[in-house]
C-alpha cells in the first residue's frame, strides 16, 4: 500500500476546502504531475475566482491571482510575455463557462500555448450553491429550488464538446474524479497536457468532473454515487481532441 505524503507544491497549511471536496484531489494531481515533470520552479498557477481561489492559501509555487472569468486572458499575457514558463489556469464552472466564456473560447481559438484545467462541479460553490452553466437538468440549487428547468435556464454546457470543435486546440479531454480509475486517467491527462505545452503544441484543456458535498447537500460518498448516476451520463468522459494521436497515426 502506498504511503501518504504531502505533495511538493502544496504548502503545509489547511486548504480551506470542505471535507470530501474533490478540488483538493484535483490540486494534488496537478502538483504531483508538476513534480514528476521537474517543473516546480517553472510552473505558474493562474488562479481564478470561486473555490479555486483557495489555491492561494496552499499552493506553494508561483501564483498569479486574477479576476473572475479572466484567467485565460491573464494567462495569455503571462505566457506571451514569458513563453518558457509552464502556465496553467485552474477554473471552476461559473468562472469558465459563464462570466469567462469569451475568454476561454478565444484563448482556445488562438491556440494559446498554455493549459486550462476546468473543475466542473455543477454549482457556484463559494457563493453558496447557485445554479451554474453546468448544473444538470432537475438539479436543485439555491437559485433553482425546484430543480433546473431548461425552459427558462437552458441546458448544461458541454465545454469539451464546444472547445474541441475549434481548429486550434491541441488536446481536449474530460475525466471524472469519482473513481480510482478516473483519477489515474486524469493524472495521465494532466501530464500529457503539460508535456504538450512544454513541447509547444498549443492549447490544452482538461475538464475534471468534481463534486460539492456542501452545496449538493450530500455526504462525500453520496456525491461520488450521484456523479455515477447523474453527472457522468450527461458529461461523457473521454478524449475529444488530441493532435498527437494523429501524429502517432501518421
Amino acid at each position: 500500500m502506498a504511503e501518504y505524503h504531502r505533495s511538493a507544491m502544496i504548502a503545509d497549511s489547511p486548504s480551506g476546502y470542505c471535507p470530501g471536496c474533490l478540488h483538493s484531489l484535483a490540486t494534488r494531481l496537478i502538483s504531483d504531475v508538476i513534480t514528476e515533470l521537474g517543473q516546480e520552479d517553472n510552473a505558474l498557477n493562474v488562479i481564478s475566482v470561486g473555490c479555486s481561489a483557495l489555491n492561494l492559501l496552499y499552493w506553494s509555487g508561483d501564483n498569479l491571482s486574477v479576476a473572475h472569468g479572466r484567467a485565460p486572458a491573464a494567462a495569455t499575457g503571462a505566457k506571451r510575455a514569458n513563453p518558457e514558463r509552464l502556465v496553467f489556469a485552474y477554473q471552476g464552472d461559473g468562472d469558465l463557462a459563464a462570466i469567462g466564456l469569451a475568454e476561454i473560447m478565444s484563448a482556445a481559438n488562438r491556440g494559446e500555448n498554455f493549459t486550462v484545467i476546468f473543475a466542473n462541479n455543477q454549482t457556484y460553490g463559494m457563493t453558496g450553491g447557485q445554479m451554474a452553466p453546468t448544473t444538470l437538468i432537475g438539479q436543485k440549487t439555491t437559485t433553482t429550488i425546484y430543480g433546473r428547468d431548461p425552459a427558462t435556464t437552458g441546458y448544461p454546457m458541454k465545454m469539451c464538446e464546444l472547445i474541441s470543435q475549434l481548429p486550434a486546440p491541441a488536446y481536449v479531454a474530460r475525466f471524472a474524479l469519482n473513481s480510482p480509475k478516473g483519477v489515474r486517467q486524469a493524472r495521465d491527462g494532466i501530464k500529457k497536457a503539460f508535456q504538450m505545452q512544454l513541447d509547444g503544441k498549443g492549447f490544452t484543456f482538461i475538464e475534471l468532473l468534481t463534486n460539492c458535498p456542501t452545496n449538493w447537500k450530500l455526504s462525500p460518498l453520496q456525491t461520488l454515487e450521484y456523479m455515477n448516476t447523474n453527472t457522468i451520463p450527461y458529461f461523457t468522459p473521454g478524449v475529444f481532441k488530441d493532435i498527437t494521436a494523429k501524429e502517432a497515426d501518421a
Partner: protein, 359 residues
C-alpha cells in the same frame, strides 16, 4: 538630437511606448484610437515584443495584467466606452500593484456617444477609473510631442508606484499629424526587471505571488499606502503649464486640445489689451491645486473653465481651490462638436467684457 517624424498622435504614442520599453500590447478596435493597435501589431514583433488582439476590452486589460505580472512593460488603449469595460481590470491592476499604461483617446459620450473627439472622460479618469477608490496618475498631453514625452516615461512612474498610469487625450490629438522628435530606444535588460515580477529570469528563488486578494488588515494597510502615494504625487509629480498669469485678471483653466485652442484665443485677446492668462494641468491627477489656489484673487476677476465637453467636468476641482474668491465660468463644445479658435475667443471676450457673470 532625436529623430524627427511627421506622425499621427496615435502612432506617436505607439512608437514612444516601444521606445519607452513597452513589449506587450493587447487591445480591441474602437475609434478614434485604432492607429495605436494597428501600429503596435507590426511594431512590437520587430523588437521581440508581443501583440494580441483581445476578444474584448475586458480580456485585453486582463492580458496586460498577466504580462505585467511577468515584469514586462505592458499597455492597452481604448476610447471611453472601452475604458468603461476595462474598469474592472484597471481596478485589479491597482489592487495587485501592477504597473501598466492605459491610453484613452476620448470621444463624445455618454454611452456609445460619438466617434468624434471630445473631452468627456475627465471625471472617469480622475475620480473612478474602476471600483474600490483607487487612483491612477493621469497625464493629459496637448500635442503629439508632449504625448511622446509623457508616454516614453510612463513606466518609470508606473513601476516606481506599482500602479497603472493613464494617458487621457481626445480624438483630435490622437488623429492630428504633427512633427515629433522621437527619443532613443531605452535599453532595458533582465536586470531591470522589477524584483516582484513572476519571471525566473531575475534569479528569484522564493515563491512569487501576485494577487488582488488580501486579508482585511493587509488590505487596509495597502489602502493606506495608496493614500500616501497619492499625497506624494501632489507634492512631487504635479505637471502644469502657467501661461501669462503675472498680470492676469481672467484665468482660463484648460487641458489637452482645449488648452491649445484657448491659448490661441488668449494671444489674440492680449493683442487687444485684455489681461487673460491660462493654467494648463498636464497631470489631471494629481491636479495642480496650488497653481489655482495661489492666484492673487485681489486681481483675478474670474476663472474660465474651457473644456470640449458639456457640462464642464473639471469645475468642481477648480472650485475647491478658488473657494468662492471669484466667479467660475465655463465654456465648451460637446458630443463630438469641436472647439474652435473664434468660438473660444468670443466666449472669453464676452466674459471679460462683463457679458456673463457666473457662467
Amino acid at each position: 538630437m532625436g529623430e524627427k517624424r511627421f506622425m499621427k498622435g496615435n502612432e506617436a504614442i505607439a512608437e514612444a511606448a516601444v521606445r519607452g520599453g513597452c513589449r506587450f500590447f493587447a487591445g480591441y478596435p474602437i475609434t478614434p484610437q485604432n492607429e495605436i493597435p494597428e501600429y503596435l501589431s507590426w511594431r512590437l514583433p520587430e523588437v521581440g515584443g508581443a501583440y494580441v488582439q483581445g476578444e474584448s476590452e475586458i480580456a485585453s486589460v486582463n492580458m496586460v495584467y498577466g504580462a505585467s505580472a511577468m515584469g514586462t512593460r505592458a499597455m492597452t488603449s481604448s476610447s471611453g466606452p472601452g475604458i468603461s469595460l476595462k474598469a474592472e481590470g484597471i481596478s485589479y491592476l491597482a489592487a495587485a500593484m501592477l504597473p501598466a499604461l492605459i491610453v484613452n483617446i476620448s470621444r463624445g459620450g455618454p454611452g456609445l456617444g460619438s466617434i468624434q473627439p471630445a473631452q468627456s472622460d475627465y471625471l472617469q479618469a480622475t475620480k473612478a477609473l474602476g471600483h474600490g477608490g483607487f487612483h491612477a496618475m493621469v497625464f493629459a498631453p496637448n500635442s503629439a510631442q508632449e504625448a511622446v514625452d509623457l508616454v516614453y516615461d510612463a513606466w518609470e512612474y508606473a513601476e516606481r508606484d506599482r500602479n497603472p498610469v493613464l494617458v487621457l487625450m481626445d480624438g483630435c490629438l490622437g488623429n492630428i499629424m504633427e512633427e515629433v522628435e522621437l527619443p532613443p530606444m531605452k535599453a532595458l535588460s533582465d536586470e531591470d526587471l522589477p524584483e516582484w515580477s513572476l519571471t525566473r529570469r531575475n534569479g528569484r528563488d522564493y515563491q512569487g505571488t501576485i494577487t488582488p486578494i488580501y486579508t482585511e488588515p493587509i488590505l487596509e494597510s495597502i489602502n493606506a499606502m495608496a493614500g500616501e502615494t497619492y499625497k506624494a504625487w501632489e507634492e512631487e509629480d504635479v505637471k502644469v503649464e502657467e501661461f501669462l498669469l503675472d498680470d492676469a485678471e481672467y484665468v482660463v483653466v484648460a487641458y489637452g486640445i482645449a488648452s491649445r485652442v484657448s491659448k490661441e484665443a488668449i494671444l489674440r485677446l492680449r493683442e487687444e489689451g485684455y489681461k487673460v492668462g491660462m493654467i494648463r494641468p498636464i497631470t489631471l491627477f494629481p491636479f495642480p491645486k496650488q497653481s489655482i489656489r495661489n492666484l492673487d484673487y485681489s486681481r483675478v476677476k474670474g476663472i474660465i473653465d474651457v473644456e470640449m465637453t458639456i457640462p464642464a467636468q473639471m469645475r468642481d476641482d477648480i472650485a475647491l481651490q478658488v473657494l468662492e474668491r471669484c466667479p467660475i465660468h465655463e465654456y465648451g463644445r460637446s458630443g463630438g462638436c469641436l472647439l474652435d479658435d473664434d468660438g473660444v475667443y468670443e466666449a472669453i471676450l464676452e466674459i471679460v467684457t462683463g457679458g456673463n457673470d457666473n457662467g
